[in-house]
Symmetry: C2
Subunit: 541 residues, 2 copies
């Protein structure tokens, strides 16, 4: 029996490796004096070296997160925490290095035309990020870190007891802390706008007020009409047990058909589906399957594939630079929702999907028609009080409700103590139903316990962007829906790669990107027209 050459490391590094490290760095320690080059091109290169290093280390952080969710043994949580913290410390040092600030200052002062549009976008976004990274004094940063854990614990307790008053003091502190943070980052803007920019670059609350008012006015009557005048849709026939292995195999086939690239990514199963990874060439997507929820597994897989295609579609010419990052949370969500809803829940896709279902689940789908599948997929079970269980028609109102409240908290027009009352009143006004408890109402979501004001809107921005993008794609790609029906998703993927994915963060806002792609800024009337047409037809209103 032969010996094997395998040996784990001993914690000592052979000198050859050390040599390689030193060679790769070529500098002694972080304390060495650095001067900012006077030449714009050289300064830009020096900036890019630093930004790319941060991006690469951030990629490692992404891998640690994926591994933690998908692979890590349960007893390694503490050591993983220490690893994430140490790497965050390294990243913090790199991101707040004063030399980075000096390079950015020099480049912001560069003569017009010295930088091409991609380079200008790098300086613009890196400059904004540097201000955010360096704005907070240590005391405030520590207060935020403590509040994150304290408020989470309080939210868990309050939700369990269904008693908002247990959470109220922490939400009050988040309001104060977020106001202070926003003031330090940019005192010239409304505080809520500063927070919003973290998730949806370039968006203002004034713009969002207009957009969401229009959505609200369009949806409230549509929901009421479905509720009062909609026909009954039969979907009970799809209930039942679906073999998990067959679900996984089917969803992998769908992801690959749509265009997920396993040379540059992995598909795994995790408790919560997500798309993460370490790099556009290393995208880790996960799905989840439940025996009783075939459609949830399928739409979840399509949704994550949409996120993954955005990640895999970046332009590696700008690898590691801010201009190559996702433009915003909303734009990211537009990619997942375009595939999930515009494609995956449409009639042509039902025609593509049905034979795959018949093959795997003949007992259930042997006699079904594509129209029956389409109807079952799109049935609105019951306008739900719970956001994460809601359908595409009621979902935006959940978001608008939260937006109105968190925006009010930040501008002082809403008091924390009034949240439960306001929540219940508006839920009744928007969805025609009143939550029976705080747990089912204003305590249902975790986001506020983490101080995330400005995050919720991106869900609905993504849904709206998706309808506009799909409309533009339908014009640009001949016979798009016939291609979808035939399972040929390549033209749509290629168009998205070119129009959206490869552009990364070149544009300064979602509005700018929409103008580039669709000829006009975000336009809620497209979203409303889509929903009205689809559900008027489906429910024969």
């Amino acid at each position: 029996m032969g010996n094997r050459g395998s040996k784990p490391g001993t914690g000592r590094s052979p000198s050859a490796t050390q040599g390689q490290q030193r060679n790769q760095r070529g500098r002694a320690t972080a304390t060495a004096a650095v001067t900012v080059p006077k030449d714009t091109a050289k300064a830009y290169d020096a900036l890019c070296d630093r930004l790319k290093e941060v991006s690469v280390l951030g990629g490692i952080s992404g891998l640690l997160g994926w591994d933690e969710m998908v692979m890590m043994p349960p007893g390694a949580a503490d050591s993983r925490g220490a690893q994430k913290s140490a790497l965050a410390g390294v990243l913090y040092d790199k991101k707040t290095d004063p030399v980075l600030g000096q390079l950015l200052d020099a480049l912001k002062a560069a003569p017009p035309g010295a930088l091409d549009p991609y380079q200008a976008a790098v300086v613009r976004d890196a400059g904004k990020q540097f201000i955010k990274d360096t704005a907070l004094p240590k005391e405030l940063a520590q207060r935020i870190a403590k509040l994150e854990s304290d408020a989470y614990a309080a939210w868990v307790k309050a939700k369990t007891a269904s008693d908002f008053s247990l959470f109220a003091p922490f939400l009050k502190e988040w309001v104060e802390v977020n106001k202070e943070k926003a003031r330090l980052i940019d005192p010239s803007l409304p505080p809520y706008d500063v927070l919003l920019d973290d998730y949806e670059k370039g968006l203002t609350s004034a713009r969002l007020d207009e957009v969401f008012a229009q959505v609200r006015e369009g949806l409230v009557p549509l929901i009421a009409a479905i509720k009062t005048r909609g026909r009954a849709i039969e979907d009970k026939w799809m209930d039942g047990d679906y073999d998990l292995d067959k679900q996984a195999e089917l969803c992998k086939k769908i992801a690959l058909d749509i265009g997920f690239d396993t040379d540059h990514g992995r598909l795994d199963v995790s408790v919560h589906p997500f798309t993460g990874g370490a790099h556009p060439t290393d995208v880790r997507m996960t799905t989840r399957f439940k025996k009783h929820s075939l459609l949830e597994g399928i739409t979840g897989a399509i949704h994550e594939t949409g996120h993954a295609l955005y990640e895999q579609g970046r332009n590696l010419k700008y690898d590691g630079l801010p201009v190559n990052a996702a433009l915003s949370m909303g734009v990211h969500e537009s990619q997942s929702l375009l595939w999930e809803r515009m494609v995956g829940l449409g009639r042509p896709f039902a025609a593509y999907l049905l034979p795959l279902l018949k093959e795997r689940f003949p007992d259930k789908f042997g006699a079904a028609s594509a129209e029956q599948l389409y109807e079952g997929e799109n049935k609105i079970a019951q306008p739900s009080l719970i956001r994460v269980e809601s359908d595409e028609v009621t979902y935006p109102l959940h978001i608008i409700l939260r937006y109105e409240l968190e925006r009010g908290l930040m501008d002082g027009s809403v008091n924390v103590d009034d949240i439960p009352k306001l929540w219940n009143e508006r839920m009744e006004a928007y969805l025609g139903d009143r939550p029976p408890s705080d747990a089912m109402g204003c305590l249902q979501d975790v986001h506020w316990s983490a101080g995330l004001f400005g995050y919720f809107p991106t869900y609905s921005l993504g849904a709206m962007y998706a309808t506009q993008i799909y409309a533009a794609a339908s014009k640009a790609i001949p016979d798009l829906e016939a291609k979808i029906q035939a399972g040929d998703f390549k033209p749509l993927k290629a168009w998205l790669n070119e129009q959206i994915h490869s552009l990364g963060s070149l544009h300064a806002s979602g509005d700018e990107l929409m103008t580039h792609v669709t000829g006009g800024p975000l336009d809620p009337s497209v979203f409303l027209a889509y929903l009205t047409k689809k559900y008027t037809d489906l429910y024969k209103l």
Copy 2:
């Protein structure tokens, strides 16, 4: 159909996370002035903070390596390279920080008794490592990095052409470079000893000369006797196809029976079996199975389990400190070989294994006896010219041959150009057979192309340590072999945990550890007695 909350990051970090990072660090940048505490306890704590940070970041590096071998999609190789390089750069900066050197200088000057034995070992090993990490000037480090790739490419070419002369110039440069490196690290020692210390702490070539001479003199006649007078052993009956899933399931059962802890580790399959991971609580072990090689899969799994138990057995009281690292490559190998050979290839284990084989592979093992299994497992197929295909009797001579040559290269008594001639002569003298080509001879192993002089001996040191440790365990644990036969591996694992694993690098050398565990230093006569007894009996010499 509900929306999902899953969203990949956008490359932007919400400020709350930044706050946490800053909070966890509590310092501005790496350029802040640092003073070395005068108080020994405080200086020691400051040292430990830095060493632990390096250890944690090194753990991340371990995870990147594991992921690359087991999980990473093929198209991510470049981005993974960039990640490893960036992290290596960070580690290099941390490991060569002058403040670390100042802390070590202060602690080396601490009054006797100011540090307990574990603390003293931390300062001893960290001090040695700091010298190694800072010894090489940039030019030499760059030369080494270049030589690593050039020499590897030349070795591949030379091996393919079976022509040593193509590789000779690179080996000459490695000799020069390694001499220079050794001189920079410690000019007071023979250069080979400086290199050896990277892999086998505290060992000298003078000591190794004695040890290996004794082994050589004992083994050459034993091998000749087996070859000329040994009886034929029947093992053809085990040939055949073994279902891979059944092999994997069996090997997992064996690893768990032996004591691998899946709360603090994972078992996966990879192209080359190895044990790695990120932390003693996160040990990643891999195995490999071939349809035609049942025994190779089983012994491989046992071997890696031995490595993994050493990793999982560390004393977390000293987590992240050098004293808690593996003592040496040789000691690591002693743990894998103890389980693989002393346990896994012994008669009691064959009695434990046989029913498991009968259950899974009744066609092959239904009629077999434990003695037949034992004989089949231990048959020496043919003294092999290839190291990695060799058995435990001939293997040490492969190592000794390489040791003699690389030691001769370093002290000037061997010329690079004479290597093929010397190799072939000694192979004939030691194993009674002459390689038909350089590819089957002196070019067979990759190690020299990476400049790894001093690495080979650790394989055989591990085998020798293992026999001594097993002898000590047999005295300390009543009825050890009866317990093994019954599949009760807990007492042996617990004894190793206490005697070896939890001590980490406390001792200054393998000799010191052996003295602690077995009452005396490394003693090749124990190894020789074990082999002579086992094979005299097996081959009825």
